[in-house]
């Protein structure tokens, strides 16, 4: 038993390093599964995130805590790696390489699709939240933001001080959106004229979920990926800008 005790001690002491190893193994397993059993149709990242949520459920079930898997001492580092600081750091990094010239060329319609995409998804999510009995502005806004992406939801929820279960709901809504975009895009592409750079940019702007768009376009026509991903890159930024500010004020005004 001394072997196990020492190992546990090392894993706990090096929490965030343990989290790197854990997430790496989880992502590797997910991409392997994606390639082996779904021919890449269901993107590895979607599987990994789903597994993460499942493990968070398991963690909550066994520990009774509110931090999912991170309530096990050896996985405490997951809470740091998946916390707001690293998350925001990585999100900002994804904006690098978005070319200002290409954005200018896409001009008006690309920008409009991003703003419209955020607002439309937000309205759908907020209406569903109200239909399910939520009546405080912070919760409604957070769930609306989650229907935008699984990033905008927690960023908004954290900023507005929403409860952890509402934030988890917003992540779940965003995840369902992401998975559905990945799986559904090849099927609906002919119906919505998704076969040229402009419609790809509009599609990316409306959908917004970066992994969903990247996965969905790759499965439809890989040449469309950069156009869709470029506008999608802005969606989370615009969402993080609008949801906790303008959209929150509008919701608060309507609610009160």
């Amino acid at each position: 038993m001394i072997l196990i005790d020492v190992l546990e001690n090392v894993l706990v002491k090096n929490g965030i390093v343990t989290a790197f190893l854990f997430v790496g193994l989880l992502v590797w397993l997910s991409y392997w599964f994606s390639g082996k059993f779904t021919q890449g149709r269901l993107h590895g990242s979607a599987i990994a995130i789903t597994l993460g949520l499942v493990l968070a459920y398991v963690g909550g079930y066994f520990t009774g805590g509110s931090k999912g898997l991170a309530d096990f001492p050896i996985f405490a580092g997951v809470a740091v790696l998946g916390g707001a600081m690293f998350r925001d750091f990585a999100i900002v990094a994804t904006a690098f390489g978005a070319d200002l010239q290409t954005i200018k060329k896409a001009d008006f319609i690309g920008a409009m699709s991003v703003i419209l995409g955020v607002v439309i998804s937000f309205i759908v999510g907020a209406l569903v939240a109200v239909a399910f009995g939520y009546n405080d502005a912070a919760s409604i806004t957070t769930i609306g933001a989650g229907a935008a992406t699984y990033i905008v939801g927690p960023v908004t929820g954290t900023a507005l001080g929403a409860s952890s279960d509402v934030i988890a709901l917003s992540v779940a809504a965003g995840l369902i959106k992401s998975v559905l975009v990945m799986v559904g895009t090849p099927a609906v592409a002919p119906l919505i004229g998704l076969n040229n750079p402009q419609s790809a940019m509009i599609y990316g702007g409306l959908m917004g979920t970066t992994s969903g768009v990247a996965g969905g376009l790759a499965a439809t026509d890989p040449r469309l990926v950069p156009y869709g991903a470029m506008t999608a890159t802005f969606y989370t930024g615009v969402g993080c800008l609008l949801a906790p500010s303008l959209l929150f004020f509008i919701v608060r005004f309507i609610v009160s």
């Binding site: 995130i49 991170a70 809470a79 998350r87 925001d88 952890s164 992994s211």
Partner: protein, 128 residues
């Protein structure tokens, strides 16, 4: 040096968060308003400026690229620390909100495409 890229990224996030906090104070919410969004815009503007004036060295860029590539793993970790057990008790909300948002957004693509004018489709790929 790789650290220059990481430092540039840190600068953008810190300045963005600072402006976001100030904006929150100004409009009277005890919240960070759009700090992450401002930081993203800062990085895009900075990286496009420097492409003309002083090109970022590939090593510097790799300091940013690394964290960009860590985006999905970090989101996976974020998922694994959520309070899922509490969310599951009202599970249909998430499903309906997610599916509804996707369906409405799909429907908007052809409408906006028409407003943007016609665009040439890519030629068909050789079937293989």
């Amino acid at each position: 040096m790789v650290v220059y890229g990481v430092a540039l990224l840190s600068f953008c996030l810190l300045l963005g968060n600072y402006l976001g906090e100030l904006l929150g104070v100004v409009i009277g919410v005890k919240a960070n308003v759009g700090g992450v969004g401002i930081a993203m815009l800062l990085l895009i503007i900075l990286s496009n400026l420097s492409a003309k004036k002083f090109r970022l060295k590939p090593l510097t860029e790799s300091g940013i690229g690394f964290w960009s590539a860590m985006y999905i793993p970090i989101v996976v970790a974020m998922a694994a620390k959520q309070n899922v057990i509490a969310a599951v008790s009202s599970g249909w909300l998430a499903v309906i909100a997610g599916v509804g948002a996707v369906l409405v957004s799909f429907a908007m693509v052809p409408i906006l495409s028409r407003m943007g004018g016609e665009s040439e489709p890519f030629p068909n790929e050789d079937e293989s």
